[in-house]
Symmetry: C2
Subunit: 287 residues, 2 copies
């Protein structure tokens, strides 16, 4: 009778990596915890840091290729992270298995970003992988409650934070976006398909008396997850660049939902907040 | 015993005019109906067309001046229309009566655009004027149900219209904005302080595969009033420029709430819709 194959008690984590700093930061955080990782680098989206890990470059449509790589790495858990441009179907690479799944994927994509992400997650689950979120795999990156750094929101900032959370949650129920900016009660900007960076950048084009300026900061950015979303994917993220953007837009700080947002490079974020004179706060989720 | 002063059966309508085509179109529509009008032209906002009517140039803070002018014109009903930049309090002109009202006005302005407008309306009412909406004074400008011009929304457009109405109503409950754009289920843009024109303009900056193009139009703009708003003020408006903007952004058409939006220069709007290949539709309000 053959002995069962020996398994490592900690299996490798497969990171399905889109673009940006988030998948890199997750990979570093997981590796620091001692767990092995491997990376599926999405063609056209992932950045060169993936070369430092066991990896394969693949299109989201190359399902057999992705599965073979992950199984070869003894990986049974996967994590999706990073920016992925909405696929242009006519340019996407498919293998046979990916092509069979295409009609359902197109249908899901038409329903919105979250429907698309839930659909991709369901594929991995169908193929026998456990899909984990960044909050589980890299708990040190999750925003905790309270302020980061030495700056605190003013009473007006706190009122604006409460209003912006109400707006983001209402929008999130409709799968519209995860961010809003409010200044002295006025909603400066709301995020849809353009993303948070573009949303923050346009605040500087509003009339100067309704917003803050880099010299006299006013108003807040709030990011919170959509109530409908699968928290295994697409949690809101802030990092040093977020802080640079909001400082340039004249905002006074940023609030995220404690337990419902990721902070990339926490130490660098705290240093940037202190240097730029911004508050960064994790707020308890709505009851 | 003195006889009462004779009153004309149709009193003059006082138009408190901000910028843009809307107050001009209302003035023309009311004059065509045979009713006399006079205009309070808001300094820094109103356009030169006001010179064709009995008028006074005034700041919103010059309450005595405005009241005296309106009473001198035997005007007991007023209508507020047009774009008014949010006041920069330090530059606003006040007379004594206006100055006494300033603290309340600042407080209202901090609560949002609609709170500010309701506050200004309440001033005129306190001073004995009846405030009427454009829908009452110029009923011919109100969008009716059905399509304008010869183009019809496709089934996909109709689905996008329904989704965009749901978003606009949700946002309106929070006094955020009156407009959203949706394309094949994806929310392209949502209006906040930037206004509809800027919102539509940024759609062209999104990746081309998520939106339409002038060569291949996709997606819809929806405008609807905020459920919380006083319909005497600030109904959503569309005109020829709106159509030119959405054509340039690659959208297929625009839907407004029937009975809850104004169309400036209806004949010109229909001609522009037909020429640009856009649909324009008034949709029944949600039950």
């Amino acid at each position: 009778m053959a002995r069962p194959v020996t398994r490592a008690t900690v299996t490798s984590l497969g990171i399905i990596a889109g673009g940006g700093d988030l998948p890199r930061a997750i990979a570093e955080s997981v590796r620091e915890s001692g767990r092995p990782i491997c990376v599926v680098a999405l063609l056209g989206s992932a950045d060169p840091w993936v070369e430092a890990y066991p990896h394969v470059w693949a299109s989201m449509g190359e399902v057999n290729k992705i599965n073979s790589f992950l199984r070869g790495e003894s990986c049974s858990e996967v994590l999706l992270a990073g920016n992925v441009a909405r696929p242009k179907w006519s340019e996407l690479k498919f293998d046979t298995r990916g092509a069979m799944r295409l009609p359902g994927t197109v249908a899901a994509a038409l329903k919105g970003d979250d429907a698309l992400l839930r659909h991709v997650v369901s594929f991995f689950e169908t193929d026998g992988f456990r899909v984990v979120g960044a909050a589980e795999a890299a708990p040190g990156m999750v925003a905790r409650e309270g302020t980061f750094g030495r700056h605190q929101p003013s009473p007006q900032d706190s009122a604006d934070i409460a209003r912006a959370f109400a707006i983001v949650r209402r929008l999130g129920e409709l799968d519209v976006g995860q961010a809003a900016a409010v200044c002295s009660g006025l909603t400066l900007a709301v995020e849809a398909a353009e993303g948070t960076d573009a949303m923050v950048a346009r605040i500087a084009a509003l009339p100067e008396h309704v917003r803050g300026t880099p010299a006299k900061r006013r108003g807040v950015l709030v990011k919170a997850p959509k109530p409908i979303q699968d928290r295994k994917t697409d949690l809101p993220v802030i990092g040093v660049q977020t802080l640079r953007n909001i400082a340039a837009a004249g905002l006074a700080g940023v609030a995220v939902e404690a337990g419902g947002a990721l902070i990339v490079d926490r130490k660098a974020v705290i240093a940037a907040a202190d240097e730029l004179g911004l508050f960064v706060i994790g707020s308890a989720p709505a009851p």
